[in-house]
Symmetry: C2
Subunit: 136 residues, 2 copies
């Protein structure tokens, strides 16, 4: 967290109050908020922050590689601050909560003969199922 802000400053970021609260809201494990949720939570600390600024800041964090965009359904994108540890996602089909699961060291490989000549650069795995609360 502090290191995140530090890294950003080193990359020439002006560290404004708005950016700071957005970064703070995105702190933690298994955090996958929508832009609107980030806006709402940031607004609790800095009441007048605008939606546009939240979108701007999230976009910058993504461009800098500090936050990942996750699109697990056709709804709002979610923002995942766990950008420095390879992992995948476990999505509850009931309540839509998301958990990070560490990437097994051997995933990401696609046999050449199945790759259609693509130069594969990344892999995302989404596991779907019911979380303990939702399976009743």
């Amino acid at each position: 967290m502090t290191d995140l802000l530090e890294r950003l400053r080193e990359r020439g970021w002006r560290l404004t109050a708005q950016r700071r609260v957005v970064a703070e809201v995105l702190n933690g494990e298994h955090v996958h908020l929508t832009a609107d949720e980030v806006h709402e939570r940031a607004g609790q600390r800095l009441p007048e922050i605008s939606r546009a600024t939240v979108y701007n800041t999230l976009g910058e964090l993504v461009a800098l590689g500090e936050v990942l965009e996750v699109a697990t359904d056709g709804r709002a994108k979610r923002y995942d601050p766990n950008a420095h540890r390879p992992h995948h996602h476990l999505v509850c089909t009931g309540c839509r909560t998301i958990r990070d699961v560490p990437a097994p060291p051997d995933t990401g490989l696609l046999p050449d003969d199945a790759a259609f000549g693509f130069a594969v650069t990344g892999v995302e795995i989404t596991y779907r199922g019911l979380c303990p609360d939702c399976r009743g």
Copy 2:
């Protein structure tokens, strides 16, 4: 295709002209059209088909398990008629085209200790990379 229409009729579907053209448009390998693309192509065969009907029909096909929804980015959902052969997706980060890749027989497993108590029911893998045309 014919079998698809047959299956639908068996499930009590009224086979209207609109539903037929939507099903026809979604025929083939590596087909991943957006709802708007389906609407456009269906409109070439049945000029007055409405967007709402296309959305309705796609939704019904998905509910029946005959078509899969694919949300690989934050944009429009894509509809994949290859619902009966387990497969994953290879997405070009340049031109966004999508190819189906057969699911390796051993994927889909998540070690219990990583599953956070979820009852895992499915897995989707998205490989990203540049297609032959886009890697220059």
